[in-house]
Structures are given as structure tokens and as C-alpha cells.
Amino acid sequence: MTGQPFPVEAGHIMLFARAIGDESPAYRGEAAFAPPTFTMASAHYDPEYHLRPKPGQEWFGSGGGPGAMPEGGGGLHAEQHFEYHRPVRAGETLYAHTVPGRSWEKQGRTGRLLFSERVTEYRDADGERVVSAVTVAVVPEGPATPKDTR
């Protein structure tokens, strides 16, 4: 199979289920089901994933100072969609392949909003589709600093 290997491990499912506050027994044990949003955690297996600090590379979070917003870093997650071709279970390896999807723009209250999709297919060792995921990101054009919306 081609694509980024994503070993679906029972311990990882347990940690993920705890993080989303779900104590269902379905998510425990060697043959645990994976929760519906679990495939997002394939980020751990992407060597290039940009939202993980890496040794020897600059990280944009705070240290001695507050850090700095990276170029184009004002983006937010606008939508997320999953299609399940079959359930995901501990003990298998999925292979993630991501391609860019559609992109479009909309006029927001404070300027143009640029939307873009990333489409990830998770296939199993036989090449069969298991989960299809679409991430929609939105980046506001212009000043990235948001207003106090709290």
C-alpha cells in the first residue's frame, strides 16, 4: 500500500477516547473500535506534520517570550467531514493519502475569507477505503489578529 502508514494501536485509542471524555467499553481492549474522529490522530505519524515541535527546528509557541504567529497562521478549522466505509479497529494499519480539494472564497464581516479543503483517504492493507476525511480550513485575508470575541 502507498500512503502514510498509521498503525491503529489499542493504547492510542484508549488515550484518544479518554481525551474526548468517552469511557465506553467499545474503545478498550485489543480489538477496540476507534472513536469516529480518531483518524485525525494520524498526525502523530506524519513526519512533516507542522503542528508538532521538532528537535533542531524553530517552534512558534512561547518560550522566554510570547512566540510569534507564523506566516499565514491565522487559519481556523471551519468544517470536518468523515465518511466511514467500515469501522476502524485496533491492530490494523491504515495508509493515509492526502490531496488538496476545492478552494473558494467568501466575503466575511471584516474582509475576504479563503476556504480550502484537504481530502484524506485512509485505506487498509488491501487497498480498500476505510475512512474518507475532508478538512475545510478558513484563512481570513488581511490582519490575522481576531477581535476579542469572548
Binding site: 492510542h12 488515550l15 484518544f16 479518554r18 481525551a19 474526548i20 471524555g21 468517552d22 465506553s24 467499545a26 474503545y27 473500535f33 476507534a34 472513536p35 469516529p36 474522529t37 485525525m40 490522530a41 494520524s42 498526525a43 502523530h44 506534520y49 503542528l51 508538532r52 515541535p53 512558534f60 509557541g61 512561547s62 510570547p66 512566540g67 510569534a68 504567529m69 497562521g73 481556523l76 478549522h77 471551519a78 468544517e79 470536518q80 467531514h81 468523515f82 465518511e83 466511514y84 469501522p87 475532508v134 490575522a144 489578529t145 481576531p146 476579542d148 470575541t149 469572548r150
Partner: protein, 140 residues
């Protein structure tokens, strides 16, 4: 666990309190589990001084992950065919979130009956933070 069309009806709803007084620690826990270490979600100093937010806020995917429970507790994790959401507002530490799933319709497919749901999660002020839809395969 599998539901049949006899078990649920159009218009039926399930409500679930997903989290009460969300702690920053939970957001950190999700960062570790998901691998998304964007400092917007865990690094208060970065979020305020570098990014201009009032503070750290939850990953949208944490809210979606928590919201999924109202569906999987009902139909089982193995029955879901689709789950999609739009992130409508940010979730802040201290928020209490309640999710509601509603059966909107049934559809006969070659694989069996499918239930279509709408889902929404609101905060303690009644503001929608996530809205979406889902579908699940039922027992014939």
C-alpha cells in the same frame, strides 16, 4: 449493539452533557492524544500575546470528538456511516457543552435502513459551537 428501525423514530432526540467547566488540562490531553500541538490551544502566553486571542481555546476536533459520543452512545461506533460538522464558535476553558442528536429521516438502501441525524452542540449560553449531520446503518 445495533439498532433497528423499530428502536428509534423520526423526531426522537438524545441529549448529552459533554463536559462541565472545560479545563485547560483537557485541551492539553486532547493535544497529546491527537498530535495537534498548535500553541493556540495550550499555550496561554502565545494565544494572548502573539495571536491576540483572549486565551487558549479548545481544538475544534475536541468538540467534534466529544459531540460524537451522543451518536455512538445511541447507535454504536460500528454503525456510523457519516459524521460531519461545521465549527460555529470557539469553545473556551470553563465552558459547559451539551450535544443533541435528532433523528431527521430514514432511508432504505441496498445495505439496509439508514437513519439520518442532525447534531448540535451548544455552550452554557445556548450558543451553537458545532452543528452537523450524521448517518448510521440500522438492522433490517
Amino acid at each position: 449493539m445495533s439498532l433497528s428501525t423499530d428502536d428509534i423514530k423520526v423526531g426522537e432526540t438524545r441529549e448529552s452533557v459533554l463536559v462541565d467547566d472545560l479545563k485547560r488540562t483537557r485541551i492539553v490531553q486532547y493535544a497529546g492524544a491527537s498530535g495537534d500541538f498548535n500553541p493556540l490551544h495550550s499555550d496561554e502566553r502565545f494565544a494572548v500575546e502573539a495571536a491576540g486571542y483572549p486565551g487558549v481555546f479548545a481544538h475544534g476536533m475536541l468538540t467534534m470528538g466529544m459531540t460524537g459520543r451522543v451518536l455512538t452512545d445511541w447507535v454504536g461506533p460500528e454503525a456510523l456511516l457519516r459524521f460531519g460538522v461545521r465549527f460555529k464558535a470557539q469553545v473556551w476553558p470553563g465552558d459547559t457543552l451539551t450535544a443533541t442528536a435528532t433523528v431527521e429521516s430514514f432511508e432504505d438502501t441496498l445495505d439496509g435502513p439508514v437513519a439520518h441525524f442532525s447534531v448540535r452542540t451548544v455552550n452554557q449560553h445556548g450558543v451553537e459551537v458545532v452543528t452537523g449531520t450524521a448517518a448510521a446503518l440500522l438492522e433490517p
